[in-house]
């Protein structure tokens, strides 16, 4: 499975790691929903660290789309909210 960290490129991640990633992602989402900045930062850091630990960088000329996309490491909660709206951050 291919996972993208925004600004960092794509990673190839074994399907067996998905459950673990989903757990970390649930914690991240809960923090965003509660508007809990203190929980948000470590949750994002933990998710990113996990992907980098279990994943390997995908070849840059791989044209496959990612199954999961994670906000960049220095993203704020406001950045994430804007990413989640259709008219949000993503250009074009």
């Amino acid at each position: 499975m291919i996972v993208r960290i925004l600004g960092e490129g794509q990673f190839e991640v074994a399907d067996s790691a998905v459950a673990e990633l989903n757990n970390l992602d649930a914690a991240l989402e809960a923090a965003v929903d509660r508007n809990d900045e203190d929980a948000f930062r470590p949750a994002l850091a933990a998710l990113l660290a996990k992907i980098e630990a279990v994943g390997t960088p995908a070849k840059p000329d791989d044209l496959r789309p990612s199954e999961l996309i994670i906000p960049q490491p220095d993203a704020t909660m406001a950045d994430v909210r804007r990413l989640l709206t259709d008219e949000g951050l993503i250009p074009g």
């Binding site: 996972v3 993208r4 925004l6 600004g7 960092e8 490129g9 990633l21 989903n22 992602d25 649930a26 991240l28 989402e29 965003v32 998710l47 070849k59 840059p60 000329d61 791989d62 044209l63 496959r64 789309p65 990612s66 199954e67 999961l68 996309i69 994670i70 906000p71 960049q72 994430v80 990413l83 989640l84 709206t85 259709d86 949000g88 951050l89 993503i90 250009p91 074009g92």
Partner: protein, 295 residues
């Protein structure tokens, strides 16, 4: 549904909307390729812009570094001259500049990271654009419009995701460089107006003026001391020279006395027998003569 899935869906929706606009996918592949090339140009310009901002920041960091070095030197000079008050003033100013400097350095490092990230994003996009071009030619040559559709979808979605990501990276870099430019401009203005210069160094540098004044004062004192020493040394030399002339005068007197005595002895010895003492005295007078009486 987690954050990852939701973000992915937003990216997919963007790609699908673009795909839906295409009537014959094969024709629009060329158009898509054009926009990819444009984005590639944009991201390269972005890398160049960040590099320009970084270099400008580097210049300012160097200028401030020189100023802190100067204040440090002034503090040492002041302390060496026994002016702790002046040294304290120099160090206080140095601390003010140091805060600015630390701040700039942090920004400099973050800009370096940004530059590196954008440069890598540019390389990744380049690789994908090249891959897309190859795929596009294959699809156009091999498949009918209907067959092409599904094959195009994946390639298009893949590259549009990359383009979305690069687009975000460019926006972030633009925001950062804009902030940096505003800051650098303000600092440049501050330096050009002389406000910072006045505070730190330059022609109106009061710490340097004080040090210079003290330096000049010390110079005068040193010269005075030197003159005093010279005067003190020249006096005993005159005494010495007086001694020498007195001594030579005494020697002259003695020689004359000796000569008179020798003559008297010569006269007295001639009628009588030979006198050892008078001969000795005469020879002594002859030996003394060249030294005692220069001709």
């Amino acid at each position: 549904m987690g954050v990852m899935k939701r973000v992915t869906m937003v990216f997919r929706a963007k790609a699908n909307k673009a795909l839906d606009r295409m009537e014959d996918p094969r024709e629009t592949l060329d158009y898509s390729y054009q926009t990819q090339l444009e984005l590639l140009q944009k991201v390269r310009r972005g890398v160049a812009d960040v590099a320009t901002s970084r270099k400008r920041l580097e210049l300012q960091v160097n200028q401030l570094q020189q100023q802190t070095n100067k204040l440090d030197r002034q503090a040492r000079d002041s302390l060496a001259a026994g002016r702790e008050d002046l040294a304290r003033e120099a160090l206080t100013r140095k601390a003010g500049i140091q805060t600015q400097l630390d701040d700039l350095q942090t920004q400099y490092e973050s800009l370096q990271v940004e530059e590196e990230k954008l440069s890598q994003a540019s390389q990744r996009l380049q690789a994908k654009v090249d891959a897309f071009r190859t795929r596009k030619e294959t699809i156009k040559a091999t498949y009918t419009a209907a067959e092409a559709q599904t094959r195009i979808n994946e390639a298009f979605t893949g590259i549009s995701e990359e383009m979305g990501d690069v687009g975000l990276a460019i926006q972030r870099a633009e925001d950062k460089t804009a902030q940096m430019r505003a800051r650098a401009g303000a600092l440049d203005e501050l330096m050009a107006s002389g406000a910072l210069e006045d505070m730190v160094s330059g022609p109106h540098d009061d710490i340097q003026a004080e040090l210079d004044r003290m330096g000049a004062g010390q110079g005068v004192d040193r010269e005075l001391e030197q003159m005093k020493r010279e005067l003190a040394q020249s006096e005993p030399r005159q005494i010495e020279m007086g001694d020498v002339s007195q001594a030579s005068q005494r020697a002259d007197d003695k020689t004359a006395e000796m000569r008179a005595r020798a003559a008297a002895l010569d006269n007295g010895a001639q009628p009588g027998s030979s006198d050892g003492a008078s001969a000795e005295a005469a020879s002594a007078a002859t030996v003394d003569d060249p030294a005692g009486e220069p001709e």
